[in-house]
Symmetry: D2
Subunit: 351 residues, 4 copies
């Protein structure tokens, strides 16, 4: 039985982590903390956990966390995590950080996008980017996992097969039109996220300046072995959960042929490429045919659904990906990473 | 052309007042103010008014308000209105106050429910409760109208015919199970009203302690000539607009007969009673038959829809009423009152 | 490992049953059927089950069902279940029927409310009403469980402690003001349940004629040892899931005192009564204090949350109960019943 | 006073037409028809019109329509309109057709996309495409207006300034990522549009095969004087109303300079281009600065909001447009066209 703790237990990601971990037969939640006025039973903060979890949430404290936990999930705001990670690593605990603090390998880029000096460059190097579909073997050995952002998870999984197999014509043409539910904005008291302001609405925001862009760029460029450029337009939907990304790319026709080494329909070739790329992945589903990709099929699950539509006369490929932003885009992927780190069955608590 | 101003223009009621007044051919919006950091065009605050209204919203100021307006709508929080009303009345302006400050005739009850001393008892006396269906002739002459609350509008209109005609068995049995959309809570940055907290939810709140209760009680008791008691349970719905109240009353069988002076089906008698009571009212619709009362039929309108279902074997009458909380429950009724005060056609700008 | 089948797998209850059973370590879904044009993989009907369940859904057939299943869940429309139940019982299979066909002991009442002759009176007698909180020991032995309706589950659990302990003044005063999400209406192509008709709406329907009324009456009267009367007004909310019932009852003051055999605050006495009544129940949570009962705390769970508010000066008690209509109100309770029948840990797959 | 009739009054577009026309001081609704079982007061079909409109809706009939109306709005399904238009034109009535039947000038393209022979080619020629911002002078003279589709209205208004001024690099790069509310699908009893299926969901559909594509293509190509190609991906949002289109185009750098004949920031130049193009338009608002374009600012109005974001380093321009699909995308634009045809003030009943 592994003892787990959550720092930042009172946000939506913390809430989802608790929900998932309560279904995990090999772990026990032993420690919960958050920026909170006074120690409070977690079931008073989230009444849904009454009769299910009897742990008091308190201000974070290194000693208590370390003495009660084998592994710590940090569901903290960006720039706060890096104050806690070194303490837990020093005490030889494993850490899964759900903030952005250890995702970007280039500290200058981090500092530009998150408007803060990076205060733990030392541990940045050892952090493993926690996307199991790409880094599973490194995650197995990791002491510190930087759990991916929600938009990057959907974007990188949607583009990885193309980029790894060099099927793109040129990087400059990728357009990512992303749509997210409101929980992606966190649990905050802001007028702009109030029900009456958002209900029945939709809009684009942070066009080409969203802080998840350098993360997508880092991972795509690493996969492609070259600088990958793209345009990123996130939109806010008036739903609670889910991310759907519609991605437009220009294909490199010859590459498709060379890679696939066969004749025939380009869409079929590319579908095969995708299926092959993810053939051993428990949480990526390549969808074909009529049904399409929709939020309701992934919300509440750890799946990333992907489909493609190819228009050869335009050398255009459209990729659609969908995840639950709080699960595959945050808490679910974090538990998937823990399962890998502890050599548990990877799907435990996640289906 | 009447010049109108709004104090408190940046809340949902202020926004709705602007929407309605822009359609009014006999008025001109000349002044907008609110608790605001710096003077801002109203179309920057509510972009929906771009190309429609070119007025700058600024901090409220008596002189400017008085010099530019014939009538002032006060869409202010409770306990703030009473600081402004005396100044406008003194300058001989007409005032329609949408707060609760002048609704309760007994200042002690006001002070208990609104937790504040009443600082303008003098004008309290002359304030006319702005429910046109009951007080139309007084509103015509009024200098100061206390515009009714949203829950009281639906409750009083639903019960007035019964109480005025003494058809109730005894006041102690009235149960008002009320449901409201979220805009009823105002335009505020509170976690509990954030989209992700409220969406797909529903709950009861302020059971039997809601501040609208003394207002309902005052009006029902005045109508009945005796103290009317009731139980009031408001519920919050995850919709933007609309109030639906399901009201349970015990009938006084003999009264029905005496009042109606005819034999026959009790439900029909009562329907006739309701239709008769409201026969000249442009904004009360008595509905019968299968269709039922639903939010969608009143949202966006100034109507109050009412239906009744009678269960004679239980001496039970169920009344269902519905309004748009921001229109008949606030801004629409305020404009209806203005139309009455200025002898405009009562439905102007309201259909 | 128990082999389970679902007849009627393509409705919302069937979908939810699959979701829950997939998390159950002691069962295997071996058979799915529904009124369907041609055999179809369930993951084509509900793409959310892709990569999770590889079973083909086909037209129901007794032989195949019986040869592949130990226990059958019937998620069929009312009046259809009774054609299938006898076949499965005859083959010595256990049956959990989620329709209303075996809930009402009096076939005449069934026939009046469901407008159909009862064609399996023989098995009606042996059917056990599947509310574990009341009938757990009988469920253990049952061959046929009649799984309760959603409204009755919330109503009976909310009133059982009062009625069993004879705390009511008289049955005629109970008012149940119920609110439900749209999935309660089933998975059907009707204009009145289309998104654009229902979104942002709310209304009452089937006032005092809802088909769940005789079921509530039967159970309350059995508990009270006398005929219990009530008024029932269901409302449709524009949310997917959840039932909240606000119940108004008149108390019998002396009974409270006698039952509790102690002095003090009436609300506290009654809370104690409720807590005591449900003290061993894993899925009933008595809530007290400020928080209140809300849909979001029970949606996605098998819990029934209950709170009470007492107004002694009116001899009035308000009880609020909430469940997820598809879980504790249908599929979750069905699995809870299966767990009891098979002597599994009762909470398996349900938290 | 102009007498107007609506054929197809019971759909969402018909309902919206009635709402708007009721506020129009120069028209009177004299005739309503629809595919309906028996003559029914429109206020029984849409109870929101009770006390507001007393007209009976009946099966369409040429003689009655013609004898009671000066102008007819046809809110009929595609392929049905062309059976009625010739009859009304023959009787010398003006017709505003909201279906697609007279929008496409090339009957072969119509027949391919709408899978039906065009049965009124004769009148196709005289039909004027009812986009006032482009065809106002022709609309003034028109006997038959083909009211634009919702997606085309938002797309054409968003792209017209660029194409008319030849600022695009090449037509092959335009990507239109469109999002619509559910009323766009019409008022129909289909499982896929039921509340429980759609609520909290989102998905793409009819990728590059939507029937509005040839309409967009026809209008853009006419404006550009050459064949304009684009990719069109519509998405369904779980909101009632509103269309938001995010449009990605590659710029022709030199064209910008030539057209604008001035130096300076490209985004500013383009904003000027847009503002200039629409400077006399009452219902197009060019938005700049932070606020962005959102559904809530246009829903309930006849406005089309447009903003642009330019990324010169990528020669990329992003245009975002938003309309209410039932108003500027259907009924509102139809009334705007009627106002132009009758030389009424163009904004009458529309603000």
């Amino acid at each position: 039985m592994v003892n787990v703790g959550i720092i930042g237990a009172t946000g939506y990601t913390g809430e989802e982590l608790i929900s998932i971990l309560l279904r995990h037969p090999q772990v026990r939640i032993t420690y919960l903390s958050a920026k909170i006025e006074k120690p409070t039973p977690i079931s008073d903060i989230f009444p849904k956990f009454r009769n299910r979890l009897n742990v008091t949430c308190r201000l974070p404290e290194t000693d208590l966390a370390v003495s009660t936990c084998d592994v710590l999930f940090l569901a903290l705001p960006h720039t706060v995590s890096m104050d806690w990670v070194p303490r837990f690593l020093k005490a030889n605990r494993r850490v899964i950080d759900l903030s952005a603090d250890y995702r970007l390998k280039d500290k200058k880029i981090y500092e530009r996008f998150y408007k803060n000096r990076h205060r733990d460059v030392h541990n940045l190097k050892q952090a493993v980017y926690g996307l199991p579909e790409i880094y599973r073997s490194k995650i197995k050995q990791a002491r510190l996992v930087a759990n991916p952002g929600c938009y990057p998870t959907a974007a990188v999984l949607g583009l990885a097969p193309l980029i790894a197999c060099d099927v793109l014509s040129g990087q400059e043409d990728i357009i990512i039109d992303a749509k997210t539910g409101v929980t992606g904005a966190g649990r905050r008291a802001l007028l702009e996220y109030s029900f009456s302001e958002l209900n029945e609405d939709m809009y684009a925001y942070k066009i080409n300046i969203h802080q998840h862009m350098p993360e997508i760029k880092q991972e795509l460029s690493k996969l492609g072995g070259k600088n990958i450029k793209f345009t990123f337009v996130p939109h806010l939907l008036s739903v609670n959960r889910g991310i759907l990304e519609t991605i437009y790319v220009k294909l490199n026709q010859s590459s498709v042929r060379n890679n696939q080494k066969r004749k025939g329909n380009k869409e079929k070739d590319l579908l095969k490429l995708y299926k092959n790329f993810y053939k051993k992945e428990p949480f990526v589903r390549i969808r074909e045919g009529d049904g399409g990709i929709r939020l309701r099929d992934v919300v509440g699950t750890n799946f990333c659904d992907i489909t493609i539509r190819c228009f050869p006369e335009k050398d255009l490929l459209i990729i659609i990906t969908a995840i639950d932003n709080l699960i595959k885009g945050a808490a679910g992927q974090a538990v998937q990473n823990m399962n890998i780190m502890y050599d548990f069955y990877e799907q435990t608590a996640l289906v």
